[in-house]
Point group: C2
Chain length 415, copies 2
């Protein structure tokens, strides 16, 4: 079953906003077993919306549209869809009730402009958007079998909630899709081509209804197994069996399962323990990634961003002599940073980074990409030297993932 | 002059990668005075690439293509373009030299697969990609006036470098575009609709060749003035004159000019001074945003992510009594955090945040979105209470921008 995505909004065409909606929608659709055949981004122009909607319908079974649902005159998606389907707008009771509730929760009065949000074309099924005032609209064409057009708000968290709770389940039902079971495995320390060689015999022996996807990120490899069939329970045990064959080949690189990212795994692993951070070259990114997930306060005590040597000394207790003798980017320094953070911030575990993220600051002995990381536990301090390539942001990203992987390994006593 | 963007890659259609290229290219093209009429994302399928290239050429003057230029058999953009233009591939000397240099810099031998990267269609102009092995290719159609098709690598930093140094200047020359001058003004503390009402008389009186764009971000408003004409110097003075009329109306909200983001302004302002951070609810994001810009070590000493109360006490010296009496989210606490960070990390200025980012943790007195921020200087500690709306990530984003704006104001003695 093929889906096209049509993202509408002038702000996308001037580069003011990055189109994260397309990636999030594609990910959700792919995981539900649907194939995204194309993503089209056009401005708030009625004739463009109509033209590309017509095109999308000609190449796919369903079209998901985002954006252009605001109450201002720039936003013309609703009117355009209404005309496209030869329908007329009416005030929907349930949508109005929702708008009223949201406006009241902000302590404001319902205005005429607010009220306009509750008007929808008669021919569509209104899907209530509990997080926002713009309703989601579900249209079906006269084709046999009928195709589906869904109009969603462009606000990312409203779109995600509607996709998860309403649109994806309804699409599955409408197109009578079979069962699908996904499984993620996260690996660290091996590149795509080496991994692919290593697990080739296993991959070739996978049952025909199980597909494998390589999803590399900077410093992290995500493998996704997708099983399709009729019976979820059966698919689940099929996946479990397949997975048991992966560990003998690549187990040393596997850091966890069933997570989209390493911070998710760290949060799960650290439950009941406490963690502190000491960051130099990652400049706060490790702490920011951990605290981006709600509930981080359950295990994360805090961290020190020790960008200058003075802060390494005064806030982490790195010895002046260590910095002078070995330099800021050294095994000795990173060990003292991790141990200092663990002790001073009173945590069970602490992680530390110090390195040259570039673009300047490299030397022949310690070129850009030279990074030391460490994990301190009650028992020991584990340190690793990384030689990373890429630009500043990628080096930081790769370092963060290396730190999360090292923490999981130390915690699980794999190192 | 109209441009279409065609992004190629299966990884974009499964949502593995967010299409940041489209936004970056759109921004650069818009600032150069070109209009992006649509962005199309398709998979690595020859027939799709050809179909959408044909379509893009029918609706625009130039088509910029990214991706599908790797040496593996999945990557078919080059072959498809070669066929589309009825040309044949040959080994380009300059491209080969570049590939050889890059392979050697990684200490590796040139392989046959590396060498394939240097093959390009005879009919195109090869534009050397100094940062990567995939050359950029410039094609012109037989139309009168001729249209342009450019194939760029999908690796973001390679694409950006080629756009800046080669593609945008060549497009300007090919389409004989006039001069264009842009000016950014950053404002804080006022929403789009209020600002628009406030500056309406000024906006209506702008010369016809100057356009104004509102570019809102969470907790920040960017206004962009774009002047078009023949003579850059004249446009510059026209912009300066226009801008002088904005200050009497909205000067109190203006935090700076000629920057894309507040961290950029902070970096410029802090030159010769030092800064430290003390973050609770922002969890390291302020430090991460500041250190994302190369050269941050010139002014940024470091920071404390004081997520737990114990860390607020032990690392920042917030008094236990203050936390017990007023709570972690209070004016008293944020003031002690900022003062503590400034003193302990030995900086001229320090900023601090403490608040409820949600989704849980809110109370009737301090609901989600209640955030205290502070800026400490040698002379004083300035504190502000924010009442923010949105989800966790947005509250963090808005808090960061409020902190940067407050720092600039304190530094410039506007508060």
């Amino acid at each position: 079953m093929k889906v096209s995505i049509l993202n509408i909004g002038d702000e996308l065409l001037i580069g003011q906003v990055v189109n994260t909606n397309a990636a999030q929608m594609s990910q959700m659709l792919t995981q539900a077993g649907m194939a995204v055949s194309g993503v089209f981004t056009v401005g708030d122009l009625s004739e463009d919306i109509e033209k590309y909607l017509r095109h999308c319908l000609s190449v796919s079974d369903a079209v998901l549209i985002t954006g252009g649902l605001g109450p201002t005159k720039d936003d013309i998606t609703k009117k355009t869809l209404c005309d496209f389907f030869g329908s007329e707008l009416y005030e929907n009771e349930e949508a109005l009730e929702n708008v009223r509730r949201i406006v009241a929760s902000h302590g404001r009065e319902l205005t005429e402009i607010n009220r306009l949000q509750a008007w929808v074309p008669r021919c569509c099924t209104m899907i209530n958007n509990v997080l926002g005032t713009a309703p989601c609209m579900w249209f079906e064409t006269d084709d046999r079998p009928s195709k589906v057009v869904v109009s969603l708000p462009g606000v990312p968290f409203e779109m995600v909630n509607l996709m998860e709770t309403e649109v994806v389940p309804r699409l599955k039902a409408h197109f009578r899709m079979g069962a699908i079971v996904n499984k993620n495995v996260l690996l660290h320390g091996i590149g795509e081509s080496f991994l692919s060689d290593l697990i080739e015999p296993w991959e070739l022996a996978l049952p025909e209804n199980i597909r494998l996807a390589y999803l590399p990120q900077p410093g992290l490899m995500k493998l996704r197994l997708t099983a399709r069939g009729d019976d979820s329970a059966k698919l689940q045990s099929q996946i479990d069996e397949a997975l048991s064959g992966l560990y003998p080949l690549a187990g040393q690189y596997i850091v966890g399962e069933d997570a989209e990212s390493l911070p998710e795994l760290v949060a799960r692993t650290m439950a009941g323990k406490t963690l502190a951070t000491a960051e130099s070259c990652t400049g706060g990114n490790i702490a920011a990634k951990l605290t981006a997930l709600a509930g981080a306060s359950g295990y994360f005590r805090g961290g020190i961003v020790a960008y200058s040597n003075e802060v390494k000394e005064c806030a982490l207790g790195v010895r002046h002599e260590t910095l002078v003798r070995h330099g800021a980017v050294s095994e000795e320094t990173v060990r003292e940073m991790a141990a200092g953070a663990r002790e001073r911030l009173g945590a069970d575990y602490a992680v530390a980074t110090t390195g040259v993220a570039g673009p300047s600051g490299g030397t022949p002995e310690k070129p850009v990409g030279t990074v030391w990381i460490a994990v301190a536990s009650k028992e020991e301090v584990h340190a690793e030297l990384l030689h990373l390539t890429g630009r500043r942001a990628q080096i930081v990203e790769r370092t963060c993932n290396a730190v999360f992987a090292a923490l999981l390994k130390v915690y699980n006593k794999w190192v």
